[in-house]
Symmetry: C2
Subunit: 325 residues, 2 copies
């Protein structure tokens, strides 16, 4: 039996949940016209710079095709919002380009619910989209407004490198997320949080906005992403690995191996969506007093490349981050 | 041999061709930061409304997977720009989410060239994107600025229905585009133009911006798309099919059948990206004097549904437009 046509499908699952003006927060009253015309019409907040980012999640590349659609939607939107957070932008709007093998209400209903609940949580409004037939993939573009954007290219030699929260949980979670292993109940819960409900670090970004010299979110692994700050700022970095905040899940999943395997996971594993940022010396005291969930892990240096030390001894990871091809 | 990694790939094929500020036109100086950070940073033109639209083209659904990548890029961007034109918005920025089975320079080089040349032609700037591994598909989101948006919901009963240029060429071209038939040299040339180089109707939209009551672009077939104006405006329409401007290709491809087959193609075939719009009676004389490539084909009416007449006799098409699922 064929599913509903594209227009009924969009109307039923998205338009009704994302009525213009129905979302809370300030984003809703910037939407002149939402889903359903050739374009959405939007009034950007006066005097602010727009920040926009697009990410595609492909089934069986970025998430298991048979994963719970509610969780897929949560992950897809959160991963995109993380880019706004990393730029210190406040979320306004997003669009959804959804490619589906078939129009299946059993899949669409929880997906739309996951999307709507995540959007509500972060005060971002769905303003348009496209639904096409093909192999499952999800492209979301988020747009936000910012006054003090945190770019990658502002670091200076001597700036301290920080990361938010812990690293390595998402990469450690992968074997459980993929069903390759079961894990303990606690590990499954940590996997769930790390992999499907990563938290865009808006609060940290807002707090450090006046003090950080550069920032990004860690999507491809700390070493790979820090190297983008290094390249954009034409610098290198020295990391003290004993300072690295390794997530409990990375420790417990690597318990049978050793501490260095957990370190490796925290350094090179992707998908954590924590912030990595740099702070000039004159702001270190102020940032310290903000009581943020952040850890200083090293310093920017004039010499290109990233050098890791563990208790003072040079330490070389085996991998350097996720490659998309 | 593995292709280049994602970052080298993006840098080589896109960043170098789409340097911030390197594009002509006014869009370039609204770009604070283009490709390469977590987000693009954009300064929207003061006092204008933004219009944004996203479309996905999936290989072997929306274009033949083995088609020339230059032509695929042209079609992908033009189809998206058509939504801006239909809203009477001037193009500013676009993003590209590209999913590729492998990182293949033989494919990427002509694709990037097609995208850059099309972008130049319409004065739109690539500001960001994502490259992922998976089944070939292209998602483009375009954003423009408008002062007098042309929505779907402004038509009134008695307004005259117009279409721009001719209809049916793209649908008639499909068997040639898919390689199912060869066609004459002239037909192949017309296929090329209709299918891979559709022209977003910016000039027509700009000219009618002050006079039209509703507008959209015809992507799914005239009947399907006009029904969106009808629904949004809570009206119906009466069409006089002898007025319908049927494209030469639709006529020549249906020559062995009959005129009614050509009419059917023009009424229900998708992918033409011509405008369909409505004009209130008091503006008809003014619009007539603009000497635009447009044709009056009927009127909006209070009675819901679309009724077609051919030389005064009721006429019922077999299909009603493209269904995506």
């Amino acid at each position: 039996m064929p599913g509903p046509g594209e227009f009924e499908l969009i109307r039923e699952y998205f338009s009704s949940r994302f009525q213009t003006g129905a979302r809370p927060g300030s984003a809703a009253n910037t939407v002149v016209l939402g889903i359903g015309d050739d374009c959405a019409l939007l009034n950007p907040p006066a005097g602010k710079t727009l920040a926009t980012s697009v990410d595609t999640l492909v089934a069986d590349v970025h998430f298991p095709a048979n994963a719970d659609p509610y969780r897929i939607a949560s992950r897809a939107l959160r991963v995109n919002l993380s880019d706004l957070a990393a730029m210190n932008a406040e979320p306004l709007w997003f669009t959804l380009a959804l490619t589906l093998p078939q129009s299946d209400p059993q899949w669409l209903a929880p997906f739309a619910r996951g999307l709507a609940e995540t959007a509500d949580l972060y005060g971002v409004t769905l303003v348009g989209g496209d639904t096409t037939k093909g192999p499952l993939s999800i492209t979301i573009q988020v747009t936000g407004a910012c006054e003090k954007p945190l770019r990658r290219d502002g670091a200076r030699a001597g700036d301290t490198v920080f990361v938010s929260n812990q690293l390595g949980a998402a990469a450690a979670a992968l074997p459980i997320a993929l069903g390759e292993m079961v894990g303990t109940a606690e590990q499954r819960q940590q996997m769930e949080a790390a992999y499907y409900f990563p938290e865009p670090q808006f609060a940290v970004a807002r707090a450090i906005g006046n003090y950080a010299s550069a920032a990004l979110d860690i999507s491809d692994g700390l070493l790979a992403d820090l190297s983008h700050i290094c390249e954009a700022s034409k610098l290198g970095a020295e990391l003290e690995l004993e300072e690295l905040p390794v997530a409990g899940l990375a420790q417990s999943m690597n318990a049978e191996c050793n501490t260095e395997s957990a370190l490796e996971t925290a350094l090179t594993g992707g998908d954590d969506y924590q912030l990595c940022f740099t702070v000039p010396e004159q702001h270190l005291d102020t940032v310290d007093k903000l009581n943020l969930p952040i850890t200083a892990i090293g310093r920017m240096s004039a010499e290109p490349g990233i050098r890791c030390r563990l208790h003072g001894n040079p330490w070389q990871p085996r991998g350097s981050g996720y490659r998309h091809f």
